[in-house]
């Protein structure tokens, strides 16, 4: 039977609408970063990739509660200089409360220094590693409240200072209804909005100067230190994660170079370290600046970089990110 015109139009509308569904989903996913690892939004896991107390450089940590509720925070110092040993502590922050402590000093009870959040231990001299802080409930079970922001200052013994924002993993608050455990999966993306915490990036975008180039302003030799930590961490069994990372390096002439290396637990080296094989130096690159894309074949990595000019004038900066790891990383906290 011949369909009347209105029916034909309805068929066409329905078919077209269903056909456009995948594109609409893609458009929706395309425009949101509310699920992404961030360096400028409150999160449920904070990572400070570079914490140092070696007698020369010290680190000042600032954490704020951006919410209007009390939050409980469980933190872990991970010592990259000592087989990834971890020390943990916890504290409370009232609504909108900031707190601060110095890595070498920790935080003792000081009656006039603000509402006391809790004792924070100092790190031993020689500590080089990371600090991870997780928003938790009263029972130290992870809670996805996205209330924490953090910053760190790296200060040396002549007063030189640099600063970076902590990396913050967004938690999916919808998962709080299901309950949480100490095994945290990093699988939340715009395409998997049922995930738990932000997925680690597929690529780190590292825009840097060629190692050893003469600085444009200071007429000094410019060096960059790169810090990388694995996204996955097993703090329950204290098993360090290792990562094999590859650098695709592009100079200003669009010439490509590459180098790979493997590290365990924590990596912090200047770009003229022997493991880079000179690929990031001015002698190889021949141009002032370069762009390195950092990927990992066996799990996610995150990090930051810090420049020095003739060994001083420190300036830290966060790396940018692209994409998401195909397989989720995991952070396993010790059982409470």
């Amino acid at each position: 039977m011949r369909m009347v015109k209105p029916v034909r139009m309805l068929w066409a509308l329905g078919i077209a609408a269903v056909g456009l569904l995948p594109l609409a989903g893609a458009a929706s996913a395309q425009s949101t970063y509310a699920t992404d690892l961030s360096t400028e939004r409150g999160g449920s896991i904070l990572v400070f990739p570079k914490v140092i107390w070696d007698g020369t450089r010290d680190t000042v940590i600032k954490i704020s509660n951006t919410s209007n509720s009390m939050v409980h925070v469980h933190c872990f110092y991970v010592n990259g200089a000592q087989q990834c040993n971890e020390t943990d502590f916890d504290f409370w922050l009232t609504r909108q409360q900031p707190t601060i402590w110095v890595a070498s000093l920790g935080r003792a009870y000081l009656p006039d220094a603000g509402l006391f959040p809790g004792l924070i231990p100092p790190v031993p001299q020689g500590f080089e590693g990371e600090l991870k802080c997780v928003q938790v409930d009263e029972a130290l079970i992870p809670l996805r409240g996205n209330a924490l922001t953090g910053q760190a200052n790296l200060v040396d013994d002549i007063g030189d200072v640099s600063q970076y924002n902590a990396l913050s993993f967004q938690g999916n608050p919808d998962m709080n209804a299901i309950g949480g455990d100490t095994n945290m999966t990093l699988d939340l993306t715009p395409f998997n909005q049922g995930g738990t915490y932000s997925a680690c990036p597929a690529v780190l975008l590292f825009d840097h100067f060629a190692e050893g180039v003469t600085d444009m302003v200071a007429d000094a030799s410019l060096s960059t230190e790169l810090t990388l930590v694995p996204c996955s961490e097993d703090l329950e069994n204290q098993i360090p994660s290792s990562r094999t990372v590859n650098f695709d390096i592009i100079n200003e002439f669009e010439n490509h170079f590459s180098v790979g290396l493997t590290f365990s637990c924590w990596f912090n080296e200047p770009l003229n370290d022997r493991r880079f094989g000179g690929a990031l130096g001015i002698s190889a690159l021949l141009t002032q600046s370069a762009y390195s894309r950092i990927t990992s074949s066996n799990g996610g990595v995150i990090g930051l970089a810090e420049e020095f000019r003739d060994g001083t004038g420190a300036a830290a900066f966060n790396l940018e990110t692209e994409g998401y790891q195909a397989a989720p990383d995991r952070i396993v906290l010790p059982q409470p």
Binding site: G14, S28, T39, I100, T149, V161, M216, A220, E252, R309
Partner: protein
């Protein structure tokens, strides 16, 4: 029921379900700006050239700028250097509110920037696939020094790619303080475009950093921040009005609230346990710029900024300040006279707050038809008995609701 009626019902049901599902799936959840991801608009809120220390505490200052095309395609960028340097009304010297008396004397006033108009120079560049470039703000980068310039005489770039007629001017004057905004454009037509990289969902391909370096002989200081990226929504009509957030948004909207994890000014911070401990006095400079910008008529678009500061006792204080088109201010000068007088009475000072750190929330007041939102960075100056050293950081954002936002606009100039 007749077959025809059943057919009509099935058809209507299919159409209704399809339309409803499409409407639900097409709900765009827009996030805020990001300094940790590439974008289609890139903003450097603070660029300084100050050899003599007129505009800040450290002489010998210049800014190193880095820009990268993160995509595997050739991209263009249309950039604007916005001059925000204030001048004395009587002698034309560069000045700040804090040194107005010294620079302008008793017969002049330090006229703020963009009064009456915003002063900008613009330039266009083409970047080849994944190409990084860098330049010094005071000198720019002439075409002959672009790595893939046809005039460079160098080895050139693979596949015959070229930077074309790219050229970056130096800043308009010295001393200089201001901002740089870069808009990703189509490399052929130079019309505003979306990103070209499918790996980041076409949100934009530009990333950059600024390093403010101060050097006097062997005394070197540096502070670095990531340029702030506004991500494309995937829609761009290529016209001269760039819609940031709000209805028919071409780019993500600017954040509704900016938050700082700040030290209160003159906070004494002791580090280095053992002998000798080191005590620093910390002060913070805040640089705020509006998201909206009118490069067509060069009229400033200001707003009022509401500040809410919490100390470590969870005590809350508030103040407000006007923003015309650019503000670079020490925290203690937000609610006190410019300069050191009155700082000890500021709500941003350790002398008032009694705790080292605070959390500050900055909310711009919207107007009809525009959210009048802002972007910001902070710089800390750490002083010991012998040195002053600085660091910089990007601020934090509170995600905006977007649903009822009016948005902001950047109006590009018409070029015949």
């Amino acid at each position: 029921m007749s077959t025809m009626t059943a057919n009509v019902r099935r058809t209507m049901l299919l159409g209704a379900v399809g339309v409803l599902a499409l409407a639900g799936a097409a709900t765009v959840v827009r996030a805020d700006v990001a300094s940790d991801k590439p974008g289609a608009i890139l903003i450097f809120p603070k660029v300084v050239v100050d050899p003599s220390g007129v505009l800040g505490p450290l002489p010998g200052t210049d800014t190193e700028l880095q820009l990268v095309n993160t995509s595997n395609s050739v991209v263009g960028a249309k950039c604007f250097i916005v001059n925000q340097t204030a001048h004395c009304s009587n002698n034309g010297l560069a000045c700040t509110a804090a040194n107005a008396a010294e620079r302008c004397g008793s017969t002049g006033a330090c006229v703020p920037p963009c009064s009456p108009n915003v002063a900008e120079n613009d330039f266009s560049i083409t970047l080849t696939k994944r190409q990084p470039i860098s330049w010094k703000a005071s000198e720019g980068l002439p075409n002959s020094q672009f790595p893939c310039s046809l005039n460079a005489g160098g080895p050139g770039c693979p596949g015959g790619q070229s930077n074309g007629t790219s050229s970056i001017p130096g800043v308009q004057e010295v001393p200089f303080i201001g901002e740089i905004k870069c808009v990703q454009v189509d490399a052929a037509s130079f019309a505003p475009s979306t990103g070209l990289n499918p790996d980041n969902n076409f949100v934009g391909d530009l990333k950059g950093e600024a390093t403010i370096v101060s050097a006097v002989t062997d005394d070197i200081d540096a502070r670095k921040y990531n340029a702030i990226g506004l991500q494309s929504t995937g829609f761009n009509n290529g016209d001269l009005t760039l819609q940031l957030g709000g209805p028919d948004a071409e780019y993500n909207g600017c954040p509704k609230v900016i938050t700082l994890n700040n030290y209160f000014d003159d906070a004494p911070v002791t580090t280095h346990r053992g002998a000798p401990p080191l005590t620093h006095v910390v002060r913070t400079d805040l640089t705020v710029i509006p998201c909206s910008e009118d490069f067509a008529t060069q009229r400033p678009r200001g707003t009022t900024l509401q500040f809410l500061a919490f100390n470590e006792f969870e005590q809350r204080f508030s103040t407000s300040i006007g923003l015309s088109c650019f503000k670079e201010v020490t925290l203690s000068d937000i609610d006190s006279r410019p300069g050191p007088i009155g700082d000890a009475q500021s709500i941003f000072n350790f002398a008032v707050q009694g705790t080292l750190t605070g959390q500050t929330r900055i909310r711009p007041v919207a107007s009809t038809g525009s959210d009048r939102r802002v972007l910001a960075i902070t710089e800390e100056f750490w002083t010991t008995d012998s040195t002053t050293r600085s660091s910089a950081a990007n601020t934090f954002f509170v995600p905006s609701s977007n649903g009822s936002d009016a948005g902001d606009q950047i109006l590009l100039p018409f070029e015949p």
